[in-house]
Amino acid sequence: MGTQFEPRSGGLPGAAASQTSPETQELVRLLIENIKDYAIITLDPRGHVLSWNAAAERLKGWKADEIVGQHFSRFYPPEDLQNGKTEMELKVASQEGRFEDEGWRVRKDGSRFWANVIITALRDSEGRLRGFGKVTRDLTARRESEEKIRRQAQEILEMAAVPVVQVWSGILLVPLIGTLNSQRTQQLMDVLLNKVMETASPVALLDITGVPAIDTQTAQHLIETIAAVRLLGSEVVLTGVRPSIAQTLVHLGIDLSNVSTRSSLSAGLRTAFELLELCVAPRATAGG
């Protein structure tokens, strides 16, 4: 189907096909025919397929004689067609010279693949629109591995999100590490409340030593969590308030005046002991 390229002046912009020898044109044709990873096709100005290379057949499933003459909207999932995406793509390509997109495309058998698509407007020397070149790459594998990494990261985050440890009879510890977003604080509230009920702990230490920064929203979430735990009848001590966090909280005007806060976990633990009226002392009989 290489003859469909009409190797006349400006047929392949930039390739300078018209100035080159027939052998070179043949090589360009062979390149397009033989290239493995790039489906390279040409469309007429209205979007009907003019040429189709072997990589396109491998990627999308149609043979050249099945697809040439068909509109390229065949490659798009129904939701894109409803949005008029194909017309939009051609419009942008003809106005701006090129259009690039990443998204789902459909194979002959109906299966989908994640594609990077570049549509280039092909204009002759008079600037007349002759058609479009469309280069498609299959990025499904890359997208899947990205998805997988993202999912794993999410899982790790969820696992590490809210560990609740009982450090003493009646004292729970929640060492928070990493950024607190709404989702995580929501989780924190659920887990902490359940654990407080389950263990009937009068004191919970919420340690934010490992939280890099606090903004208004995060602080609000923490305040809500603390209020909820108090409603159950337990006391919360916020520990690990570093100088930078203390400064931020005050500058943001966040009022934590009725929350017990301590700079270190050990100070918080001491407070917890005080609240439980426990006393840690050296063993009196140590000297024996």
Binding site: V241, R242, P243, I245, A246, Q247, L249, V250, H251, L256, S257, N258, S260, T261, R262, S263, S264, S266, A267, G268, T271
Partner: protein
């Protein structure tokens, strides 16, 4: 700045004794805040006694920073007592409407230490 060197923080009985230089500029006041908070973290202090006995003029920046620092110290689990404000300074401060928020004050360092030894009245740690 050279004034930074004049900030003195002495740790006595888990309390930070902070002496404010006589005529602190804004940079010194900011540095003071940083150093007090850093010391709070380092020694896990129960409170801060801020001696402003040598301060002759109290501007609004200084007052605001002191009030803020006290709130920050509170967040880190400590109490702040301001000590030794000169009568003339107190008069000017009230006349131009400067307050130190809800900071506790004491007449002398001795009394400030007594104050810090007493448990907080109620739960208002402002």
């Amino acid at each position: 700045m050279s004034d930074r060197n004049s900030i003195s923080i002495i740790i006595v009985r888990k309390t930070l004794m902070v002496t404010v230089p006589s005529d602190p500029d804004d940079a010194t006041v900011s540095a003071l805040q940083d150093e007090v908070l850093a010391a709070m973290q380092r020694v896990d202090a129960k409170g801060v006694v801020l001696d402003i006995g040598s301060v002759e003029t109290l501007d609004s920046f200084f007052a605001r920073t002191v009030a803020e620092t006290a709130s920050m110290v509170a967040l880190m689990g400590g109490r702040t007592v301001v000590v030794g404000m000169r009568p003339s300074v107190a008069v000017t401060a009230t006349q131009i409407g400067i307050t130190l928020g809800g900071i506790e004050t004491a007449l002398s360092v001795e009394r400030a230490l007594d104050l810090l030894d007493r448990p907080v009245t109620g739960r208002s740690r402002r």
